[in-house]
């Protein structure tokens, strides 16, 4: 059970406090309710590029990292399709430095042309390093637009193409900042050996004077129910074929999200999971095979991915995955299997709560999802799942007309 306090400043900033007196480190996490899904389809990759610019200085501070390092701290951030999350850890005595730094960049970013110019190059190199200059690096750049035709999940956080990043202008940067970075759009969580009164005082002092900005109301078009089987085949200069099969799945807040997540555990968590056991060890048809959920807030994807063994065609590999699907939709999962994956959920929850930073990130995320208290309800949601739930949700998801297949073929040399 994670205990916490929550309050809101007059300008709309939500603040969560969690006390953990076992650590000399304090975690300072600030989540902004903006992600790649809020981008213009012609200017993708922007939320992530913007995250880089947030480290390029604010009106009173030339460079974000130097004063933080001077205070013995470290910082980083990530952008997803849903959120942009900034986090720092530092010695608890120096907590105020984090308040100073993060409030100044929320108050007024510096918008220096040099920072934009350099970070465009850095992000382009990131694009190359992670998506283009790696075998199979472009899989998600292909799979997303296959599965999503309307919803902005059709592009990856890095963006659709390098050109979108090259074309980003300072006007775009400013507009994005004022549209998405306001106190009303942020959730701050401070976790560590610190009292709530102090967090209140510091929040009021550093963030209280920042004006509320116009609330951005998100209006995303929902992805229509997929009712056609989709298949894309590409050839690339890679050593072996790879197969990806994606199914639309329930949204993050629904009960069935948890069921889908547990189905991915039954199929693919640990070496005793079905796919590995059956298709890697017992009847070796794949070198490697996994099933996982994308974990996004709106309707995400349930993905099977595998590298077929030598002499196993992509068609045969697809048939084998359908066979595994047939089993989970036609037979009830065994009681022992279900108990096993529930035990895994319980223990990984305990391991996840060992780090104060993890706790701060989770509290912020659940607050965005609905309420920070959900952090204490997660495990029970998994534990309440029945064998029939598993079968029902598997049947609902794993339909041919809900499936998008990417055949990633190795070019014949």
């Amino acid at each position: 059970m994670i205990e916490y306090n929550k309050f809101q400043l007059a300008n709309g900033l939500t603040v969560i406090h969690h006390k953990d007196d076992s650590t000399p480190i304090v975690a300072f996490n600030i989540l902004y309710d903006v992600g790649a899904k809020d981008e213009d389809p012609d200017k993708t990759g922007f939320a992530h590029l913007f995250e880089h610019l947030m480290f390029g200085g604010s009106s009173n501070i030339e460079n974000f990292d130097t004063p933080l390092q001077m205070a013995g701290g470290q910082s980083n951030a990530f952008t997803s399709n849903d959120i942009t999350n900034y986090y720092s850890t530092l010695p608890k005595d120096n907590l105020e430095t984090a308040f100073w730094l993060d409030s100044d960049r929320l108050n007024q970013l510096a918008f220096t042309p040099k920072s934009l110019e350099v970070q465009r190059s850095v992000v382009i190199e990131e694009f190359k390093q992670r998506y283009l200059n790696q075998p199979y690096g472009d899989v998600w750049l292909l799979l997303r637009p296959l599965a999503y035709k309307v919803h902005p999940y059709q592009w990856a956080t890095i963006g659709k193409e390098i050109k979108h990043i090259e074309d980003a202008t300072m006007d775009d940067v400013k507009a994005f900042f004022y549209k998405h970075y306001g106190p009303q759009n942020a959730i701050l969580c401070v976790a560590g050996d610190i009292e709530v009164e102090e967090v209140k005082l510091l929040s009021e002092k550093w963030f209280g004077s920042i004006d509320t900005r116009e609330k951005y109301v998100r209006k995303l078009e929902e992805e229509p129910i997929q009712n056609e089987y989709r298949e894309l085949t590409v050839e690339r200069d890679v050593p072996n074929d790879a197969l990806y099969m994606a199914f639309h799945m329930p949204e993050r807040r629904s009960k069935d999200y948890y069921v889908a997540d547990l189905i991915s555990d039954v199929l693919s968590r640990g070496q005793s999971a079905r796919l590995y056991k059956e298709y890697v060890m017992e009847n070796p048809k794949f070198n490697d095979i996994h099933a996982y959920v994308s974990g996004s807030m709106e309707k995400g994807l349930f993905v099977f991915s595998g590298n077929p063994a030598e002499n196993v065609s992509l068609q045969e590999a697809q048939d084998l995955i359908w066979k595994s699907i047939e089993r989970i939709t036609s037979e009830l999962v065994s009681e022992r299997e279900l108990e096993k994956v529930k035990n895994k959920v319980e223990s990984s929850n305990v391991f996840g709560e060992m780090s104060v930073l993890n706790k701060a990130m989770s509290l912020s995320f659940y607050e965005l999802l609905g309420d920070a208290s959900m952090i204490n309800e997660e495990v029970d949601k998994y534990l309440s799942i029945t064998q029939k739930d598993v079968q029902r949700v598997a049947k609902f998801m794993f339909r041919k007309e809900n499936c998008s297949v990417l055949n990633y073929k190795a070019k014949q040399k």
């Binding site: 076992s22 650590t23 000399p24 990292d65 130097t66 004063p67 390092q69 001077m70 013995g72 470290q74 850890t89 530092l90 010695p91 005595d93 105020e96 430095t97 100073w100 409030s103 100044d104 108050n107 110019e117 350099v118 465009r120 190059s121 850095v122 992000v123 382009i124 190199e125 990131e126 190359k128 390093q129 200059n133 075998p135 199979y136 550093w206 890679v238 050593p239 640990g270 070496q271 005793s272 890697v280 060890m281 070796p284 070198n287 490697d288 590298n307 022992r336 108990e339 096993k340 035990n343 959920v345 319980e346 223990s347 990984s348 305990v350 391991f351 709560e353 060992m354 780090s355 104060v356």
Partner: protein
């Protein structure tokens, strides 16, 4: 309001970090057990660290394969049975492997220890390596190997260590043919010789009852003594050449620059080198990052490190950069190395580095699992946790003059080895 955004809040400098010493026990077969029993989460890690030289195997693949396959089967349980039983209790195994050691860890909730300890005992004391499962492993590992050969990062790492270590087994690269030459007998033999008490140390961390030590004695305490692996093979070699591996069509180049350092682990000079390395490439605000990423935008990331192994200490710079700026990046790297000898570090920069390092040491002391990992690192090289207080003392006292002297002694550009993989 009574404050100004222009003024940074006051900060406190760390002068002492508390690294609680472990409690030490010995099992009947002589295995040393060090424990860190603290924290509030009801979870435990039991790590068995085997000091095993990869030189002992038929080829470099053997040590790795043993480490990765262990747990698959025992003399009484067929393939997958142990894994399933451990999974069932929500526990998991983690195998890690480095140039000097192989380790096998059990992670479990404290309340499940009695259920999973007997299974863990079987994993490490009674492992078998069935031919069929070994063959599957080798086929799949070979495919991964082939995929990795497509990455400039892999290619440059291999090229670099080949020239850094020459004919020493630290250079012992796995080659494609090794996957066809290893048999299940090779693995069994390696396992029974070296996964033994004379090579093993145990670190237990988390929250647990003292009775766990007796339980470990009754289980792991039965591990046979075995043959002590000979880890002593000093590397003495220096290659300052420039090497290139062509990878047609690569849009980025992998770069490594570095050398072998002759320095004693835990000495003042060693600590000063660590501090100097931090200035150069050891943190986000480092000179390499500031210049090559934050000023020029040539890369997504660049860093340097000092790595201490049983038989060598190395200094290494690593990055992946746009193919068109490979030469420019190398020029800037050498410029930054040279500046360490040519110019004194400013007081401002040095104090940022000092405070940053003190903060990271504080973070390293946070929690039982992290303490255990720190202890593992230093104790393997003959130190204990007082290492960190000595490091803190050197951070406190070191001057720019001393660091410049260290740079002149150890980091001369003419002594650097250079490796690049990319589109020529």
């Amino acid at each position: 309001m009574d404050f100004s955004r222009a003024n940074a809040p006051a900060i406190k400098t760390i002068s002492k970090v508390n690294f609680p010493a472990p409690k030490t026990y010995h099992l009947d077969n002589g295995i040393e057990v060090n424990t860190f029993n603290l924290g509030s989460q009801e979870a435990v890690q039991i790590e068995l660290v085997f000091s095993v030289s990869r030189n002992e195997g038929k080829n470099p693949l053997v040590a790795k394969a043993v480490n990765e396959i262990i747990g698959e089967a025992s003399s009484t349980k067929g393939p997958g049975v142990l894994n399933e039983a451990i999974d069932f209790h929500g526990a998991f195994l983690e195998s890690t492997y480095s140039i000097d050691h192989s380790s096998v860890s059990l992670f479990t909730l404290t309340k499940k220890i009695d259920d999973v300890l007997p299974l863990f005992q079987e994993v490490v004391l009674d492992a078998v390596f069935p031919k069929r499962e070994v063959d599957i492993y080798l086929t799949n590992a070979k495919q991964k190997f082939i995929v990795n050969q497509e990455k400039v990062d892999t290619l440059v790492r291999r090229l670099y260590s080949q020239h850094l270590y020459g004919d020493h087994y630290y250079a012992g690269r796995t080659e494609l043919n090794h996957y066809d030459e290893v048999s299940s007998e090779d693995l069994s033999e390696f396992y029974s010789k070296y996964y033994t008490a004379s090579n093993c140390k145990i670190i237990v961390s988390g929250k647990f009852d003292d009775s766990l030590i007796e339980a470990l004695n009754k289980s792991i305490g039965k591990m046979p003594i075995g043959i002590k692996s000979d880890l002593n093979h000093p590397v003495s070699r220096s290659d300052n050449g420039k090497y290139f591996h062509e990878k047609k069509g690569a849009i980025q180049s992998g770069i490594r620059v570095g050398k072998i350092l002759d320095v004693k682990y835990g000495s003042d000079e060693y600590f000063k080198l660590k501090i100097l390395n931090t200035v150069l490439g050891g943190y986000f605000g480092s000179r390499l990052m500031s210049n090559i990423r934050e000023d020029k935008g040539y890369t997504y990331g660049i860093g340097s490190n000092i790595s201490f192994m049983k038989n060598a200490c190395t200094f290494n710079i690593a990055t992946e950069v746009g193919a068109d700026v490979t030469k420019e990046t190398l020029k800037e790297i050498y410029l930054e190395i040279g500046k360490l000898s040519d110019e004194k570090i400013s007081e401002d920069e040095l104090s940022v580095v000092k405070n940053y390092l003190l903060g990271s040491i504080l973070k390293a002391s946070d929690g039982a699992f992290s303490l255990a990992q720190q202890f593992k690192g230093v104790s393997f090289l003959g130190e204990n946790l007082t290492f960190f207080q000595r490091y803190i003392n050197v951070i406190g006292s070191v001057t720019s003059d001393e660091l410049q002297q260290i740079a002149k002694t150890y980091l001369n550009n003419a002594t650097m080895l250079e490796a690049v993989a990319g589109n020529g």
